[in-house]
């Protein structure tokens, strides 16, 4: 699958990046393509393009704080998860997406 994710957290520092790494690792381990945008204290990094949105099978968004420019993903299959879940339970999230996009 082609997956996209956007991570953000209240302070915009540690959890944003830990979640990004966690979900990226889990997706790749299960053989999927993934691009992760981080919305942290450093601003928006690794920004997702409209073409990538068009091609994506599913989008993972952290729900700790509102994701900026969320309307980009309208019409896509969206999975809302906590940043903590991305860090500690990445493989479970990816499995759930596999089940729900069949």
């Amino acid at each position: 699958m082609k997956l996209l994710a956007v991570t953000a957290c209240a302070a915009g520092v540690a959890h944003t990046f830990m979640a990004a790494e966690g979900i990226e690792k889990a997706a790749k381990e299960r053989g999927h393509e993934i691009k992760v945008e981080t919305q942290g204290a450093l601003g928006i990094d690794n920004r997702i393009t409209p073409e990538e949105v068009k091609e994506a099978d599913a989008v993972i968004l952290t729900k700790d704080i509102p994701i900026r420019e969320r309307d980009r993903f309208e019409g896509k299959k969206i999975f809302n998860v906590t940043s903590t879940a991305c860090i500690t339970n990445g493989p479970k999230i990816i499995e759930a997406i596999e089940q729900n996009t069949k």
Partner: protein, 149 residues
């Protein structure tokens, strides 16, 4: 240099968060990273009061960006015993202290971001908890924050 052996302190006997923050600030000051020890220490408390830097898994990252800092510094401490640290449900044993100058961009945030990404890897965490040789720890941390000076 962001970090050197003098900024690494393992099996250090500190009993609470206050002692940890004071020790981290003292190491930074001794290494010439700070121009005002007390000023930096207060700035760390102010940042900690906004949102705790307890990251879970036994790790905290107390930090501050302030004019009391001369140049970016990174401290690594492994405590002899776990201590409580509000803002997380787990006690703390590993501490990364970060000092960043007011000017000079977002260097401390980049350090934090790079370290945070590494901290999800059990292998990296395991090494931080277990390596007893300071040279090896220094090499590990330099690799994890690589390219940032």
């Amino acid at each position: 240099m962001l970090i050197n052996k003098d900024l690494i302190s393992i099996n250090v006997d500190l009993k609470n968060k206050d002692e940890v923050i004071a020790h981290s600030a003292q190491l930074m000051f001794n290494a010439g990273k700070l121009n005002d020890l007390e000023g930096y220490r207060k700035a760390v408390y102010e940042r900690e009061a906004e949102i705790s830097t307890n990251l879970g898994d036994g790790i905290a990252m107390p930090h501050a960006r302030t004019s009391f800092v001369n140049e970016p510094g990174l401290v690594f401490m492994r405590l002899k015993e776990e201590i409580p640290w509000e803002g997380g449900d787990q006690p703390i044993r590993l501490v990364f202290g970060i000092a960043a100058p007011e000017t000079g961009g977002d260097i401390h945030l980049k350090i934090l971001a790079k370290l945070a990404r590494q901290l999800i890897y059990d292998d990296f965490k395991q090494k931080l908890f277990t390596i007893d040789n300071e040279d090896d720890l220094l090499a590990l941390i330099e690799e994890a924050t690589g390219g940032l000076e």
